[in-house]
Symmetry: C2
Subunit: 198 residues, 2 copies
């Protein structure tokens, strides 16, 4: 027995999503078979609406409903600070911390030669232009190979264009609530390097 074509097609669509394997795609599809048609229509509408109603901010490249985005057009934020992140979700995570009220710049990725992502595939080249009147650039790319390489690349880019601006890297070390016993060597090495006077 083969699966009905329309079921097979939906399974294929789910399989394309990151982290969804063939089994999960099957499970999700058969789950939706039992969901009323109106709910399915709502789901389909949300998908299309999300794409239609969101814009990428022409200044910081964060996603939002307006251009310029909520953060870029907020006059109360500190315009002398610029935090560079890989993804829109990183902006959300940093905002949740409540510890930052400057501007952002979203790269939409990190330099990754293995995946054919070079500086030209990212929102990287307009950083130099944005750094006028900025005192500090915080590099908050991920502590991964790709994120570190991207941070290094931006540091060199800015060192040429703006030798006066302070460039910092977000702090690395043990996450709060962690057990030193279970931490990996690189994290402990970074935590030692980043130790501070009490």
């Amino acid at each position: 027995m083969k699966l009905p074509r329309s079921i097979q097609q939906l399974i294929t669509q789910f399989e394309r999503l990151p982290g969804v394997g063939p089994k999960s795609a099957q499970r999700l599809t058969f789950y939706l078979l039992h969901v009323p048609e109106s709910e399915i229509q709502k789901f389909a509408d949300s998908l299309v609406a999300m794409k239609k109603n969101t814009k990428v901010c022409s200044r910081c490249h964060n996603v939002g409903e307006e251009d310029p985005c909520e953060i870029c057009s907020d006059s109360t934020r500190d315009k002398s600070l610029l935090c560079i992140v890989e993804q829109p979700l990183d902006v959300l995570a940093i905002e949740r911390s409540g510890k930052y009220d400057g501007l952002y710049h979203v790269l939409h990725g990190a330099i990754s030669p293995l995946n054919n992502i070079g500086p030209d595939q990212l929102f990287l080249h307009d950083i130099v232009k944005r750094v006028h009147n900025i005192d500090e650039v915080i590099l908050a790319t991920n502590p991964t190979m790709e994120g570190e390489a991207t941070a290094m690349y931006i540091q060199q880019l800015l060192a040429e264009g703006h030798p006066d601006v302070a460039i910092t890297r977000i702090g690395h070390g043990l996450p709060i609530g962690a057990d030193i016993e279970y931490a990996d060597g690189i994290t402990i090495a970074r935590a030692m390097e980043g130790r501070r006077k009490m």
Copy 2:
């Protein structure tokens, strides 16, 4: 910063799917932000089409594109065998084994008082009528509390209506490729009970 409304709505839709938590829902939504609009439209269309183009077979209650379904209308299948399963995915799994060529009956669930699912919420009552001219009914509900209770219920139902039909339960024991060392006690107990002469 709050998330744009249309993004938040899609996250909420993903969160409703089984096994998708808030973090995965966020990740899936932001992944789709980078997918071209035409692909998103295809995904949305597949969702609606799946619901529109599938029918529940009026005989066996399996899902398919026709009513009666492919299996029920296949004249080469053994019409003296009836295998009762919980879900359409179970039909698919049994068909993949290549070891069964009888008919099916899909309950669309199992008796589960905790979730307010009784016999009336399942395709259960028409089984008695279907069992005319059938020699053997194989109960292939899951080896869970709910599946066992459902199998027991069906056995009593059939024992009253059709005392002549053979009622069997699908075999339980160690799955092929498993390690006895890691098997749980109940599985080993069932494997012992179900031992066969070599």
